[in-house]
Every structure is written in C-alpha cells, then in structure tokens.
Assembly symmetry: C2
Homo-oligomer: 194 residues x 2
C-alpha cells in the first residue's frame, strides 16, 4: 500500500482517522466534517476546525485524501474524498486492537468524588446538576445524533446507529444513579462534614 507517501501512514494522530472516517461516511468539506462530528462523535472524540483544515492538507500531501476547489457561488469551498490508500490506512487502524484508549475527563464526577468537603444541601445540588447534565446530553443525542445516524443508516452505514446506544445507556444509567444517590442522601444524611 502506497510506497510513495511522504508521511508514514503508520501512525496518524487520532483526528486524522476521524477525518478519514467522516469522508468515508460522506462528508465533503472541512466545514462538513466539523458539523458532522459535532452532531455525532462529539461525545467520544471532539475536534476543532483549527485541527481539521491543516490535517486535510497533510492527508492530501500523503495521498490519503483527494481535494479539489468546489465553490458554492462566490463562497470558496474545497471538497475532499478519501482515496484507496486512505481507506487502507483507515481500515488498518480500525483493525488495530492495541490502541483502544479510553480517556475520560469528567469534572462533574470528580467533584462528587471530593464532595465530602461540601455540606449536605450543596451535595444534593451537585447530584441534581449531574442529573441535569446527563438529561441534557440524552436530549442532544436524541435531537442531533439520532437523526445524523439515521442519515448514515439510509446510506448503508449501520454502525453510527449501532454505536449510539452506548452513549444513551451510559447517561440513562447515570440519571438512575443520581436518583438513587439523592434518595440515599435523604434517608442517611451525614452527621457532619467529613
């Protein structure tokens, strides 16, 4: 595969694979990729447009994507597609079971971990805020990610839709747990601040 590449396609940054994957799922421009990521994989891999545009150029130099100017009226626009080499690199990465890193930064749950420093009513407020956060994310998943996944499904891509329940199940479990925790805090309040 692609002996002529300047960049070793062995080890691309993760956002590069997101770009390749999104182009494969039908995204056309950098702006398009950003919009689709925000509506679909945001809660498992966010990406900013400041990363997307330079990466698209790098990927083009490496022969993994092909781009051409495709303005809409006087509004400039560059349309990309994934190449055969790009598909191969994407698939190689997808098959690699070494790199399945899960990196969570949850400030909300972190605060609950340290909540012994708070008074009882403040903890209840925190648990409720955490519950609202999950409710809000569930709403966004239903309003934005579900339709986006339906579009992909209509094009014959089933996994965006199959991946969604992971996210919803997680936040449904959290909403449930927040309720359990709040009930427990009511029935067994702390004596004093630990």
């Amino acid at each position: 595969v692609a002996e002529h590449n300047q960049i070793e396609p062995a080890d691309l940054p993760i956002p590069a694979y997101v770009i390749l994957g999104m182009l494969r799922l039908g995204a056309r421009s950098g702006y398009d990729i950003k919009r689709i990521v925000d509506r679909s994989t945001r809660y498992l891999s966010a990406i900013s447009h400041a990363q997307i545009y330079p990466l698209l150029k790098q990927l083009e130099r490496a022969g993994l994507v092909r781009g051409r100017a495709e303005p809409r009226g006087k509004r400039r626009r560059r349309a990309y597609e994934i190449t055969k080499d790009g598909e191969a690199v994407l698939r190689r990465w997808l098959r690699d079971e070494e790199d399945l890193v899960l990196d969570v930064r949850d400030v909300g749950l972190l605060k609950l971990f340290f909540a012994d420093a708070l008074d009882e009513p403040e903890v209840v407020e925190l648990v409720r805020a955490l519950r609202r956060r999950s409710e809000r994310i569930l709403g966004e998943l239903r309003r934005e990610s579900l339709p986006a996944a339906a579009v992909a499904a209509a094009r014959g891509h089933r996994f965006p839709h199959l991946t969604l329940p992971f996210g919803t199940a997680m936040h449904e479990a959290w909403v449930e747990y927040c309720d359990t925790l709040e009930a427990e805090l009511r029935t067994r309040p702390a004596r004093t601040r630990a």
Copy 2:
C-alpha cells in the same frame, strides 16, 4: 478569603483541584497523590507526576498548601497539607455548577462508529476487544479503587466510595451491550461491506 495570594485562586487548572482534594483526603506527598489518583480517580481524571510537582510549588506560593521537608531516612521527601485558604478554594470550585465539563476520548468506541469499513469477523473481534477492555477496567476498579475507597470511608470520607458505582455501572452496561451487539451481528449479518 486570602487577599494576600499572588496567584488568583479563582481559576486554577483542574489538576490543582485534584491535588487539593487528595491532600484533603489524606495524601501527604506528591508521590502519594500520584499513587492515590492512579488507584482512584484515574478513570475520571488522570494526572502525571510531571504536573504534580510543579503544581504543588505553585499552590504553596499561593498559600493554598503548606509543605515541609520530611525525609524517610536518606530518601528525600516533601510532605504537604491543605491550608484553610486551600479548603476554601476547593469548596468554592466544588460548589460551582458552571464547570461540570465531561470530555470523553474513546478510541475504542470511535472505531466501532467507523466499523462499516471493516468485514464482519473483524467487527466481531473489535466488539470482543471492547468487551475485554471493560472487563479489565471492572477488575481494576474492584482490585484497586474499591480498597482505596474503603480506606477513605474508614477515615469518614463517604464520597469516594459512593462515586465508584458510576464507573462500574458504566462498564457493566458496556459489557452487556457488547454481548447484545455481538449476538445481533450473528443473527443479522451485513450483506456486504457498506
């Protein structure tokens, strides 16, 4: 609170609050903080020792922690405790419901999202790898986080132990979902690669 601070304590980096919180829960040295984080909050907020040591110095300059040399034999060691100002800053942050950011980077789930690019047996392998990952994390939570939380509970801190079920529930839900997904892939295999 603390008008004499050089550093505005209004907006510390998150690892600084982790350090304050861990000192409050009984951690003594930088090394200690690193060890406790690895055994407890790793899956919601990791931290490297290269961050801890410089931050401890900054926090000391800001009057939020107090440190003194406390060598063990000839092995140098600096022991810290949180100050009243430090407690106040920590509590102010814990009460702030604005900043409850959830930032997940899940390469495993991302690969599943793009799994239409794979062949059926490769997807099954991916789902199994994802299941193994959650099983491994569940094991670590039971072997490491649970005893660490029990130690905290014995000292009167109940929330490290109350926070744990969030993590276990999440990964139990994932194991279950991996099984469901694998079963579904067997009964309704894809016609051809999408």
